[in-house]
Symmetry: C2
Subunit: 218 residues, 2 copies
DNA sequence: TAGATTGTTAATCGATTAACAATC
DNA sequence: TAGATTGTTAATCGATTAACAATC
């Protein structure tokens, strides 16, 4: 049964399923089951079956799931099968790391431009991109019909740049800056990767122990 | 009333509260309320009060919360008030970005070492750290009693390195590699920052629309 | 004082888990 | 066929929201 409203939690688990399925495939495993996958991932078989049932039927009674098929299904659900053009704003170390190392193509993205405003960086080549001046941003986005922007510049200008991007037609923002963007347009998707929130979570669990760990003083 | 078992969701919201409180303080706001903060953040006042009540009482009836005081309280809950030594493994672009830009001190961390295995990188200086050969890892960690490691090297060696780190005494791992670490020790805390999961989530919402958005064809 | 807002208890809502008939 | 495992419905569990007495 396909659900109309799918919860955020389900969606957050999909990439993880994909990751583990990939691992199975790389090990040469052809077929799996909710039981096996659940054991591997530390989740209940029920949850896996429930999650998948939001999108259709991908298994077979008595058999389980074909690893390759399920991977393809989830990839498709995640939308990696359509190509989306992306630009990256900020070509400092973080921007360069992402341009150079992150496998955008694997997830259906294609990086078509990198922008910065430092003269020392503009014109330099990273991977096969030439860093351009940020003044070109709107023009380029409109011309190439770019849907996605990756924000790797300083937090200070994040909201201003986000506004410009959206005006130029960008529909999705992958935000590495440490601020929550204030965006009025309800159809624009923002995905935040707040390093500091993540480190604070680590700090919390180191301070308090995981899962209500009992404190013993001996 | 202080809760014994605090849910992960609550913990994930704490850094965000802190972020918004900081913004208020920077705007010169001295006092706030669950109502105001909730409007600002897009959460219910009830949730804020419930969340905070897990840790104690921080407000005053009829008044609300003192911004500075609440910030300090949450910082303390998150454990940023104790100093933790950290090393970073992998001094490529991502590692350098983090070493150079990330304000570890603000969150109670102090970066004491950077490691890599490329000869071209070893010995170079980043911020005020000199990159050392990864062979020194265990010795240094033991000597300095380092609690935390940041993994910014390639995914391939992540699990092997994690094992060495834990053997040497590391209790917390901030994992930027694209794999889930398999760690047996139950007291070791791992916080993952999987770039690819994040981008796939963006991809999902761009494909399906946010919050069950209705599709109209005209 | 009157108004505002807390902390907490109760009510609701949603997500996870368990159970099981269907069937490969 | 018998065993395994699905997809789905029902039961449980937990998290969010609402309500309200306490009180600044």
């Amino acid at each position: 049964m396909r659900k109309t409203k799918i919860s955020h939690n389900v969606i957050l688990r999909l990439p993880r399923y994909l990751r583990y399925l990939e691992e199975l495939r790389n090990r040469g495993v052809v077929r799996t089951s909710s039981g096996e996958l659940g054991r591997l991932m530390g989740v209940t078989p029920s949850q896996i079956r429930q999650d998948l049932s939001c999108y259709g039927e991908f298994g077979q009674q008595g058999y389980g799931y074909n690893v390759e098929m399920l991977m393809n299904a989830i990839s498709d659900i995640l939308g990696t099968t359509r190509e989306r053009k992306a630009v990256i704003i900020g070509a400092g170390n973080l921007g360069r790391a992402i341009i150079g190392k992150f496998p955008f193509e694997q997830y259906g993205f294609r990086l078509t431009g990198a922008y910065d405003l430092a003269d020392s960086i503009i014109g330099t080549e990273i991977a096969d991109l030439t860093v351009r001046h940020i003044d070109r941003l709107e023009e380029d986005i409109r011309e190439t019909r770019t849907e996605v922007a990756v924000l790797t510049m300083s937090s200070a200008s994040a909201n201003a740049i986000a506004g410009r991007l959206i005006d130029a037609g960008v529909r999705g923002i992958w935000n590495f800056t440490n601020v929550d963007l204030t965006i009025s347009s309800p159809s624009v998707v923002v995905e935040n990767l707040h390093f500091s929130d993540s480190l604070l979570t680590l700090s919390y669990y180191m301070t308090h122990g995981k899962s209500g760990e009992q404190r013993t003083d001996d």
